[in-house]
Amino acid sequence: MLDECAPEHEWDEKTHHYHIKWKDKPVYPSLPKGDHSKRGKRAGRAEIEVGHVKKIVRFLGIDIDCANKMVPQLNLKQKT
């Protein structure tokens, strides 16, 4: 989703979380390590939960249509 909707974003793996940086937005420093990390894979952790993705979309101001298209279960609604 980030590759498609937040091009040129940057991931940085820390001890506890991933840090995500996109454009001039503040860093998102609290994405839990899911199946993307080696340690997470070994521990058999679930993939990143939908709520975290929703939060990232809202916080970073990612295009909602794009996010919904990439992750349909988000079901985010446009601000009116």
């Binding site: 979380h17 609290s30 809202r58 916080f59």
Partner: protein
Amino acid sequence: MSQSAAHERAYAVIFSFHDAVEGRGFFARVLARGRALMAFEDDEGWWLYGVEPGAIAAPGATPREAYSAFRQAFTKVLFDFSSDAESYEEFAYRVREFFQATDTQEELRWQVALEQFRTGKLEPEESIASLPRWKAEQGYNVDVERLDAKRTFTPDANQVDEYALPARRCRLNPRGIVRPNPHFRYSRDARRVRSRA
């Protein structure tokens, strides 16, 4: 009306966290009074979404579980900052930057939830209704203090982590002083204290 907030099962909450963090050559205390939205998501259970700070969220099967996960995530964010920071100043800067990054969309939902709660449109379930009530108008902030430079310590600085619902209503009197709602016991107690004085 923004989003589906009018019928959302979501509650505005306020929290107070107290962390002690070790870093490279420093020991710091972080005191945070922030706000978050406790929302029930269909199929996903409860989520506590940060408003101030905005860049944090955590789930749980119950509101209490979501709060515990959120609390732990908050501490882990601080620990990641301390691992990266080359100095206390850098750590303090990162913490303040994190806290001050408000989620503006979440803030709108928080305000709607606050209004719904205060007008009685949303009756909280028991696990939420039993939370203490704090003034929502008191402001939100983070305080980072370097402890290894301190010479004196006192037990008065100890604080318990907690989360709360906003008090129903605060009003401004003509002098602009915030007074609590007179229908609440807190204010009756406060009046008693004043009359004794």
